[in-house]
């Protein structure tokens, strides 16, 4: 699974840095390095819903540093399925 976190202007202001940190720590704690590839991206075109996160090049989610962990849990379950 490839997760792209937007680091464009609007998303950066809404906390891309913390979103990335939280996602990274979830991956580390749950040892998902081989299953989830975390990347960044410039503007995904959903600036009004920052922070935008794109999964496998299609679906775009709107998450915040607070909801990052929940989002990762959701992705984690998807992988298990």
């Amino acid at each position: 699974m490839e997760i792209k976190i937007c680091i464009g202007s609007a998303c950066h202001l809404k906390g891309s840095y913390d979103v990335i940190k939280n996602c990274q720590s979830y991956i580390e704690t749950n040892q998902l390095e081989s299953e989830i590839e975390l990347k960044s991206a410039f503007c995904l075109g959903r600036c009004s819903e920052a922070v935008s996160v794109q999964v496998d090049g299609s679906e775009v989610f709107s998450i915040s540093p607070e909801t990052a962990e929940g989002f990762m849990k959701m992705m984690h379950t998807r992988i298990k399925l």
Binding site: I5, I7, G8, S9, A10, H12, L13, K14, S16, Y17, I20, L38, K39, S40, A41, F42, C43, G45, C47, S48, A50
Partner: protein
């Protein structure tokens, strides 16, 4: 635009005598297409009195010379006009003048200032001088043709006296300053000026005993940096804009996520964004083959602007060893470039339509105009193109 065969990179900064609000040294610069004139004057004493003497001297000399007045006439006018100090009963200001034409013929005119440092290919040159007497003033004239890479440094006596009686018995001394300049391998005049003054300030232990001023002139090959900051309003113009941009000479920078995505799309190249933050406040950079630097747009530019303003407010030498977008952009602009061309599009960025987006950031062109102002203070040639 016409091809420029050489670029005269000019920079000046001053350290004020400790505790003084005004500098007793004054530099005036007139930079035209055909002729560049620089006048450095050091007024007697310090503070207000010295500042007035130096300002009058530099301003009158540069204006008269520019208008085509004879050198002797100019010096006589100064001698007869300067106000007389009540304490010392003389009206006095030393001066150095650089006068360069468009074929790089240089004339240095000096009166009582430390002699100009002429550095060519890492060596301090000793060029013969002729003397001209005006009243009882002995003025020295040096004339020669500049070559690419030459560095001419003027300074007030505060520089060669740096550290006298504190760190050094006789101050920094002319020869030592000259050797120091000859050793520096720096492209930018501004960086050299700052390095000299920072060293002076250290020798003075942070409390300069006199006003110290440095003027650096370097003959450089123009180094252009092209910065694309925003896509055109009409999507149909993307392709031609990218093509034109890629055809320009010089280093290429893209500041803006959307612009970067467009470049990558039009060139059919991959865009790889970094995920690691070097600095939590600076958005990460990206890579596109053929582009020297790719950064996020408005936040990076705003931080760059703030940094430029603070750099211009002091004369310390800025060091950019970090690899974040702002540091890399600053290094490219300040140290490497002589010419900076901004490519600005009028497309409305949806990111900035977000009601939570800071208002002062929403008009990128204002930030670029401010950056232009700061870069011009550093002696850069700046041009803003509109892509639509």
């Amino acid at each position: 635009m016409d091809k420029v065969p050489h670029y005269i990179d000019l920079s000046t900064h001053s350290l004020n005598k400790y505790g003084e609000e005004l500098c007793g040294d004054k530099v005036e610069i007139i930079k035209g297409n055909k002729r560049t004139i620089v006048a450095l004057a050091d007024g007697l004493g310090s503070g207000v009195k010295a500042n007035i003497l130096a300002t009058l001297t530099s301003k009158m000399m540069i204006t008269m010379l520019e208008q085509g007045a004879d050198l002797k006439e100019t010096i006589d006018t100064i001698t007869n006009t300067l106000p007389i100090c009540q304490v010392r009963k003389i009206g006095y200001s030393t001066f150095s003048i650089l006068d360069i034409d468009d074929e790089l013929n240089l004339r240095i005119i000096e009166y009582d200032n430390p002699p100009a440092f002429i550095v060519r290919r890492g060596n301090l040159l000793n060029v013969p001088k002729t003397q001209l007497t005006s009243f009882d003033k002995k003025v020295w004239i040096t004339e020669f043709k500049l070559e690419l890479g030459d560095t001419i440094t003027l300074c007030s006596d505060g520089v060669i006296h740096a550290g006298v009686g504190v760190m050094l018995n006789h101050g920094w001394e002319w020869q030592h300053v000259g050797d120091f300049i000859a050793e520096q391998e720096i492209a930018s005049a501004d960086k050299l000026t700052r390095r000299l003054l920072e060293t002076c300030n250290k020798l003075y232990d942070g409390k300069p005993g006199d006003d110290a001023t440095v003027v650096t002139l370097r003959v450089r090959d123009p180094q252009i940096t092209q910065i694309l900051t925003g896509p055109p309003d009409l999507k149909e113009k993307d392709s031609i804009t990218v093509r034109n941009f890629m055809h320009q000479s010089g280093a290429k920078v893209v500041c803006g996520g959307t612009a970067a995505n467009i470049i990558a799309r039009e060139l059919g190249r991959e865009i790889e964004t970094e995920i690691e933050y070097i600095d939590p406040f600076v958005p990460p950079t990206a890579h596109i083959k053929g582009i020297d630097l790719v950064t996020e747009g408005v936040l990076t530019l705003k931080m760059t602007l703030n940094k430029l303003i603070s750099i211009n407010n002091c004369c310390d030498e800025p060091v950019f060893h970090k690899k974040d977008g702002v540091s890399r952009l600053l290094k490219l602009l300040i140290e490497d470039s002589t010419h900076v061309h901004f490519w600005v599009g009028r497309a409305i960025n949806p990111a900035h339509q977000n009601p939570d987006f800071p208002r002062d950031l929403s008009i990128k062109i204002n930030i670029i105009r401010e950056i232009e102002k700061e870069l011009k203070k550093m002696g850069k040639f700046v041009h803003i193109f509109y892509t639509d």
